[in-house]
């Protein structure tokens, strides 16, 4: 018997909150990116869960696209981390505070 969709939602909520916690606390830029990845994947779980729920493949195909996008996002993210490092000699996110009024 198929697992009821609520549990998938709970799972994705859990992963989402972990990712969220990661973003809020981690100071290292790379860890930051990882947490973002986690949150993205939490969303993918939902997609697949509901795709199964509705019997329509759109969810699954779309989650593929989100993964591709996540990849692009990470590529750019790491590029930025590189430049961050080059300018601030340190990848600590809380140090680079010059981009403000």
């Amino acid at each position: 018997m198929a697992v009821p969709v609520q549990y998938y939602l709970v799972l994705s909520a859990a992963i989402f909150c972990i990712g969220l916690f990661g973003i809020l606390t981690r100071r290292n830029a790379l860890m930051f990116l990882m947490s973002v990845e986690l949150m993205l994947n939490a969303a993918n779980i939902n997609f697949v869960a509901f795709s199964f729920q509705h019997g329509n493949l759109t969810g699954q195909v779309f989650s593929l696209f989100t993964m591709a996008l996540a990849a692009a996002e990470v590529a750019v993210g790491i590029g930025i981390v590189l430049v961050l490092y080059r300018n601030f000699a340190d990848v600590d996110v809380t140090k680079a505070t010059t981009l403000r009024w």
């Binding site: 809020l24 199964f52 729920q53 329509n56």
Partner: protein
Amino acid sequence: MTTRPRLNTGRQQVIGILAIGLFAVLSAVFLTSSFGEAAGFPGGGSITAAIGYAMFDLDAGAFPSEGFLVSFMVIAVALDAALDVAVMLGQREDEEGVAADGRGERGDR
């Protein structure tokens, strides 16, 4: 060397509780809501083939799906752009005096 993870108290604890709180709220919502019977994918059709057809908007697959041809093209362009951006960001100006250890010029602080 790595540091042994410690349960970090203080600000992070608050955020931790917040995150757990959010999880509690979300799961409370999800659990108390009823979604009805899952339709699933009956029959023996191959899901991955249907995904492949949906990807190119051919709707010959066993299961219903929307067409993603346009988004396929768009994501291709996006990925290519991301690649170029990454390369551009990664590039160091050639004439820049680079310290031995690979750090940038400003890295010698």
